[in-house]
Amino acid sequence: MAEVLVYVDHVDGAVRKPTLELLTLARRLGDPVAVALGAGAADTAAKLAEHGAVKVLTADAPEFADYLVVPKVDALQAAYESVSPVAVLVPSSAEGKEIAARLAVRIGSGLITDAIDLTADDKGPVATQSVFAAAYTTNSRVTKGTPVITVKPNAAPVEPAAAAGTVEALSVPFGEAATGTKVVGRTPRESTGRPELTEAAIVVSGGRGVNGAENFAIIEALADSLGAAVGASRAAVDAGWYPHSNQVGQTGKSVSPQLYIASGISGAIQHRAGMQTSKTIVAINKDAEAPIFDLVDYGVVGDLFQVVPQLTEAIKARKG
């Protein structure tokens, strides 16, 4: 059967959920061959095998951490040349998109980014995209070279499917460009213990209406009662009330959870671009005319300082 190259996103050997979703999609196209790079790469093999990887190509070298993006492209290209896949799938993170972009140029292939679904067709994979702030859904194909496609989190269910998962060391010849951009300092993000924003099943977001950094405790309490991730509008981030890494929207994270709860957010087009594909949308806003209400499955016109704590208490009471 045809092989499909899957780029693995992992943290020190712990495979992130979007990669497992990619494996589900990859199996629709052929046999997944996973490429895991950097510290802990070999530790990913067991998990990848449980999700259908027939082979896991691994490489570790200081270059992956010490220089930006290009060493990973060299490695993915080496994997591509050793496998001759029918498609290359990469998670749609900021870095994933850059890796995919450079590989596409190198191998002369078309690139599709931010797919929300993939299906097999006799002419190759068909990618579904959600564009113009989710106003349109498109189906696209790559027509030249080997399709390089980046896929958004939550595009497919995680489905276990045992496979061999044979581990092979990948030998990577680093090109001259690999050492072009040096990483001279690194500050890891502190873990909040909450789920990753882009992967979470529930996201609770606050906007300008939250009116102060200290008030975000109300939003966090609701999130914690639901086991949710916390998001914020750009207005809240720009005001310094919440970190930029939690921004939802066009220039922040794009999220597609089962449930999105927006409090004190008006629903500007740039915010909608990042959350409109959420399955169920709930908003709490004191302005009945706020555009966010056009999107909701359930909306409460009211003061978030009343509604949100009452909701949190009700949830806690039910969960006992």
Partner: protein, 263 residues
């Protein structure tokens, strides 16, 4: 030392307007106003600040766009902010060009213009791929220093801060290089009246595919590496339930979440 900065700016349909696809499944540009992609204003701003820091030297900011006739509006806006000159790649055969093709055209135009530093936005506000800067770095064979929330140039080195998912990293590369900046890099200036008047006199060079030695068949809808098979408007959401909080709004919302099995 002279410093030649090329800023890539895209002309895009207004995101607050009603954007749709034309019959050939490319962007319908007739029905909605176009403008300079807001995220590219941040790129112009950083270029002007870097040029300003080099005021003793001779630093020059050229804005470059690939787009139809109307894309001149985007160039004028960037010139009125303070850029020195503009290059417009315009050719009927470019209609429908995808990311691979756009990066080819931009790379050739950048090489023809001459550069020490290329600055892009983090993503366009229409295609929103966020891949052009990496593609340009690959094609030009110079370092990529992308998604910077802070950027500076000292001597022949560009430095910047990139806020990634797992960590914030400090980056460094030698010029020439390709940079992209995020909307966290600093508010873009508004054009002054003087700037707007001055922009009218600034040079705008027009290039076509022949000037760049690009075959028409390698770009445009026919030459594209990707094809759009269908585009369907998302069905309007069925109107949701909207209630006024009369004191029990939170409890009622909890009931809704229970009914949807979220609790």
């Amino acid at each position: 030392m002279s410093l030649r900065i090329v800023v890539c700016v895209k002309y895009v349909p207004d995101a607050t307007g009603d954007r749709h696809f034309a019959d050939d499944l490319t962007l319908d540009r007739d029905d909605v106003d176009g403008l300079l992609s807001e995220l590219d204003e941040y790129a112009v701003e950083q270029a002007l600040q870097i040029a300003g820091d080099h005021s003793g030297d001779d630093a020059e900011v050229t804005v470059l766009t690939v787009g139809p006739e109307d894309a001149k509006d985007a160039l004028r806006k960037a010139l009125s902010m303070g850029a020195h000159k503009a290059v417009h790649v315009e050719d009927d055969d470019l209609h429908g060009t995808d990311a691979l093709g756009t990066s080819l055209v931009l790379a050739k135009a950048i090489e023809k213009t001459g550069y020490d530093l290329v600055i892009c936005g983090m993503a366009s506000t229409d295609g929103t791929m966020g891949v052009l800067p990496a593609m340009l770095s690959e094609r030009l064979g110079v370092p990529q220093v992308t998604l910077l929330s802070e950027v500076s140039v000292e001597g022949g080195t560009v430095k910047g801060r990139r806020d990634g998912d797992a960590a914030t990293v400090q980056l460094e590369a030698s010029l020439p290089a390709v940079v992209s900046v995020t909307d966290q890099s600093g508010e873009a200036r508004y054009p002054s009246f003087k700037g707007i008047m001055a922009a009218k006199k600034k040079p705008v060079e027009s290039l076509d595919l022949e000037d760049l030695d690009i075959e028409a068949g390698d770009v445009g809808l026919e030459g594209a590496w990707t094809a759009v098979d269908s585009a369907t408007e998302r069905p309007a959401r069925t109107a949701g339930t909207i209630v006024n909080d009369e004191g029990k709004g939170g409890d009622e919302l909890a009931e809704f979440l229970v009914s949807q099995k979220f609790i």
